[in-house]
């Protein structure tokens, strides 16, 4: 946690410095995503202008969550849960896009410090664990499988050497909360400008009402659930009776 805060501080300082130069201006086609019952995922356009030639890297980080990880192990021929560890500050969503593949940027340290790229995401928790990296890799793999992390970095297009744009894709499995969109302008492996934007993801409509009620008014919610099932069962019975009669 501490480590994470320090890195965040570093990031904010870099934003502060960069903003004074205003080398980068960026915006998102919409900074709100509403999850309703019919939600199928969202596509947002991220675009902007850079004032100096360089490489643009955009990373989107979902709300950081506490994650319980269970490890399966084969015991007596059966796959059973062998160990459970809790990790903190695990991004619930991660996506990165850049003008060139991250490896060609020659900026390993910058990417590491700013947690850009799937392999540079840092989690807290279970520090005492031996082979902690295998757990971390396991988390990343499962996140990719669940569609929360994107294994293939996206591409940012630059036109006229100044305009850049890219599409941000969000799968249906979205956690609600604030998503950070961090844009870095790199030149010769160093950050010369940075900007942070936000996307708010929230549940709306029936989905939100149901979720809130289930959590805040759980007894009433249970009774209503039973009531609806009752009405349903009764109506089906009446239909069956009349059809068969």
């Amino acid at each position: 946690m501490k480590l994470f805060l320090i890195f965040n501080l570093v990031f904010f300082i870099s934003i502060f410095k960069a903003n004074s130069k205003k080398l980068i201006i960026a915006d998102i086609s919409d900074n709100k995503i509403n999850i309703d019952v019919g939600f199928k995922g969202a596509k947002l356009l991220f675009f902007g202008v850079i004032d100096e030639e360089g490489d643009v890297v955009v990373s989107v980080t979902g709300p950081r969550k506490t994650v319980e990880v269970r490890k399966k192990e084969k015991k007596m021929g059966l796959w059973l849960n062998s160990d459970t560890k809790v990790f903190f500050d695990v991004p619930s969503y991660y996506y990165v896009a850049s003008t060139r593949p991250l490896k060609e940027l020659n900026a390993e340290n910058v990417l590491l410090i700013n947690q850009v790229g799937i392999e540079n995401i840092r989690f807290a928790g279970a520090e005492e664990q031996e082979e902690r990296s295998s757990w971390v890799n396991g988390i990343i793999k499962s996140m990719i499988k669940a569609g929360r992390y994107n294994p293939e970095p996206g591409l940012i297009q630059i036109s006229d050497k100044r305009l850049f744009k890219t599409e941000l894709n969000f799968a249906a499995e979205l956690v609600d909360g604030q998503y950070l969109v961090d844009t870095l302008l790199l030149k010769n492996g160093a950050v010369i400008a940075a900007r942070r934007s936000f996307i708010n993801v929230s549940k709306t409509g029936y989905g939100e009402k149901i979720y809130k009620m289930a959590n805040n008014n759980s007894l009433l919610y249970g009774l209503i659930a039973v009531f609806f099932a009752f009405i349903f069962g009764f109506v089906v019975h009446e239909i069956t009776r009349r059809v068969n009669a």
Binding site: K72, L80, I210, L219, A225
Partner: protein, 302 residues
């Protein structure tokens, strides 16, 4: 077409959910079981968090068992007294089951316990049903009569009362005990318990067959009501969108099931149910034995 399930917090295909509901409906129309023993594992495999699958399935069973119960009640095939006793045991059982479920989920053991109890019960019930139905078929062919009801020492325990509809005069201790155990299982496994209760009533209590299904549905109905409220209240894991879609898919299924029942003989039905149960059991065993693709399983907390 995808739909977002607000409690499960995932999107699922509507037609997939409707067809699971349909299959459960066919089963409940044919065998008088809620169908939860089949739907819960399928939901878990399709990515619904196990706790939500169990809670929502309990809610689904409320609806499907009510339909069946009303059907049998109208035909006077429900033993209310027996049902009330089964209910008493079942409600206490399901309440303790929900607490046990919470305890197990805190230890990260809940999935294993669910799959082990499933394998144990599906396996034994499936095999027994196959064996019994084949035997009955043989006997029917040879023309000998089947004696359903044999008295043993358990029926002679104290507190004997008359069950008129079931044509029994037995102690209330065995039905109480059986229903308590089934209540615990039902709450943990997210099933109404019908697929265990039906054979238990036929073979252990010696009840007459036509009353068994109706009475079992009465017990399942009330146990699943308790389970739903408890899961919603204690674990917040009931997704009404999910259970609503399952119920909707079941409407047509129940009709189909009832249609098939009129055209197939009883032991063939039981054989079919036995085969379905046994296949599911084999599948769950393979899940435990075959190397999984991912050995780290995540659970997002707040």
């Amino acid at each position: 077409m995808e739909i977002y399930l607000p409690i499960a917090e995932i999107s699922q295909n509507i037609f997939f959910l409707l067809s699971i509901g349909f299959v459960a409906g066919v089963l409940s129309g044919m065998f008088g079981v809620g169908g939860g023993f089949l739907t819960t594992p399928i939901l878990i495999l399709s990515g619904v968090p196990p706790a939500v699958a169990v809670g929502s399935e309990a809610n689904h069973i409320v609806g499907s068992s009510l339909t069946g119960f009303l059907n049998y009640f109208r035909r006077k095939n429900v033993d209310i007294i027996m049902g009330a006793i089964l209910l008493l045991g079942g409600v206490i059982g399901s309440a303790s089951g929900v607490f046990l479920f919470r305890l197990l989920s805190m230890q990260g053991r809940v999935e294993e316990v669910i799959s082990f109890t499933y394998i144990l019960f599906l396996g034994s019930v499936g095999i027994y049903m196959l064996y019994e139905s084949l035997k009955t078929r043989k006997k029917k062919k040879s023309g000998s009569l089947i004696k359903l009801h044999e008295h043993s020492w358990i029926h002679g325990l104290p507190f004997r009362i008359k069950f008129r509809r079931s044509k029994l005069y037995i102690s209330i201790i065995p039905p109480l005990l059986i229903s308590y155990i089934i209540g615990v299982l039902a709450a943990i496994m997210g099933v109404g318990g019908g697929f265990i209760l039906v054979p238990a009533m036929i073979y252990l209590l010696g009840m007459s067959t036509q009353v068994v299904i109706g009475t079992s549905l009465m017990q399942i109905l009330f146990v699943s009501i308790t389970s739903t409220i408890m899961h919603a209240y204690i674990n917040q894991t009931v997704d009404i969108i999910l259970s609503g879609l399952l119920l909707l898919g079941g409407v047509l299924g129940v009709q189909m099931g009832a249609f098939v029942v009129q055209r197939v003989s009883g032991e063939v039905l039981r054989m079919l149910l036995g085969i379905i149960i046994f296949c599911l059991c084999l599948f769950l065993i393979s899940e435990l034995v075959i190397d999984p693709k991912y050995i780290f399983i995540l659970d997002l907390l707040q």
